[in-house]
Symmetry: C2
Subunit: 298 residues, 2 copies
């Protein structure tokens, strides 16, 4: 097989395998779009891994185990400082908000942290698009019951509550869609949350999707012992500085002042399906010093 098939032939053949396997019947016009009509007939690989694989389920359940154990230990040994970076703190001058006598809380992102948005992810895939803000807004308003709890999350939240640590959600779902958002969280099994008390949404404080303002608001009433999310913006806005290259962002996350907090107050869950890392170039992901090409195909 010295000479490869032309790319298009390979792609067509690959598509054929999929199409032949799924072999959808033509849908009558009155029916809902058949679930087999995704552009290539299957979820994207990242979605197959995250939402469907035993491998990702294990990582999720174990992450939630560790978060719960950490919160239980934190509740027993009351800390002097929260894990929320103080305004103006940097890797060189890290400062954290003081706890005083405030009650303890753990702060969680919602999407792809507490719940998997299977309803909207499936819809986007069937439509052959990655994301549409208008459709996402409708999903916030009407998706209750079609998002599911992440493996281990319900048990983890229950353990943290039992340890006497308040569960507070800080999400970039829109304040304008508060009713649908609360219902979506409830229908996924997490109980009721109160806007402005245990639920903070985009629009609650200035800064748009930046979450530091909401973290400061939460800190007025709570000592936050754990921050949990699928993106570094769930930890501190400093990591989402648009001027950071992927490599600079990795270096900042690994700076000594911050490195000691991962899995020890700051927790990241895997989400390879979307995030602030998107937009990386070929050179950023496959740097020149790793360039390789097969001689057999040249």
């Amino acid at each position: 097989m010295k000479y490869a098939l032309p790319i298009l032939s390979l792609m067509a053949l690959a598509a054929c395998q999929t199409a032949t396997i799924t072999a959808p019947e033509p849908a009558p016009a009155a029916q809902q779009p058949a679930a087999v009509s995704a552009p290539e007939g299957r979820p994207l690989t990242a979605g197959q891994w995250l939402f469907g694989s035993a491998e990702a389920q294990i990582m999720m359940a174990q992450s939630w185990n560790r978060i719960a154990a950490y919160a239980e230990a934190g509740a027993a040994a009351r800390p002097e400082y929260s894990v929320i970076l103080a305004p103006g703190a940097t890797a060189e001058a890290p400062e954290f908000l003081a706890c005083g006598e405030k009650p303890l809380a753990a702060v969680f992102d919602v999407d792809e942290t507490l719940i998997w948005n299977l309803g909207s992810a499936g819809a986007f895939r069937r439509m052959g698009i990655e994301f549409d803000p208008e459709i996402w807004g409708e999903w916030e308003r009407t998706g209750a019951g079609k998002a599911v709890a992440i493996p281990g999350a319900l048990e983890g939240v229950e353990r943290i509550r039992k340890a006497g640590v308040e569960i507070i959600l800080n999400t970039n779902r829109e304040a304008a869609n508060v009713a649908g958002n609360i219902e979506t969280i409830r229908e996924a099994g997490f109980g009721d949350y109160v806007h402005g008390e245990t639920l903070f949404l985009k629009g609650d404080t200035p800064g748009g999707s930046a979450k530091d303002g909401r973290r400061y608001a939460i800190s007025e009433n709570y000592c936050v012992i754990a921050l949990v999310g699928d993106q570094l913006g769930d930890i501190a806005d400093i990591f989402n500085d648009k001027s950071l290259s992927p490599a600079a962002r990795r270096d900042l996350a690994a700076a000594p002042a911050f490195d000691r907090l991962w899995d020890d107050g700051w927790f990241i869950l895997p989400n390879p399906t979307y995030g602030p890392f998107e937009g990386s170039s070929m050179e950023e992901i496959f740097p020149p010093e790793t360039y390789w090409a097969p001689a057999s195909k040249e």
Copy 2:
């Protein structure tokens, strides 16, 4: 929008009938894939996350921290049983190989566990294909220096060695490419491995890519206290039974007899870019009870 996709699917099917009947012509040399023309100019999202994001780097470094700490503790408290499932063991009748007085070892997969294959991943992406076994074979033979150590792996391996635990690699790289494979591992910084002693390759025992045979061979000389990989086949072949649906595979991994071992002898690192989970259908990943469609686009 609603009806466009089924039509596209039908067109794909029509194209397939032709493609599967007509043998593709060999491509003229001038039409070979250009090395710089990634289909959409960027790595796939899963690759951007895994190889480039601070989020994945943190998960990797923390996973390796935990693996090293576990091995250090295991070396101090010598176990009676290894974490390798005995032949014929099941979730209902779990049995593990006895350790006797054998020296301790930790067994690792190589690809996407010790090293990231940036050279081949970049090449596949530039060619617009997901995988080609012929090219992969050439990568095994000639890729040394173009694969890199995963964040945290070098430090983790060093700690485990210092604890007196032998590092043994069990990979589905081919025995026929042993020289290139050893050099790739060495060039990534992991030192020298000896085929049949500290390095086990596909072809060393019957069973093809199934790794149980090699795990049994390793167990003749070692008490294995940790198994580490990016896929459940790195833990036990029972999880790769082809008859398991994604849901059944998740259930098996979460069976009580196995569930207690995750992060406690059995360790999984994230790899959403390829794996045994691939091939899941839309219904398996987005089950009917989560079906949702936006009214605004109908």
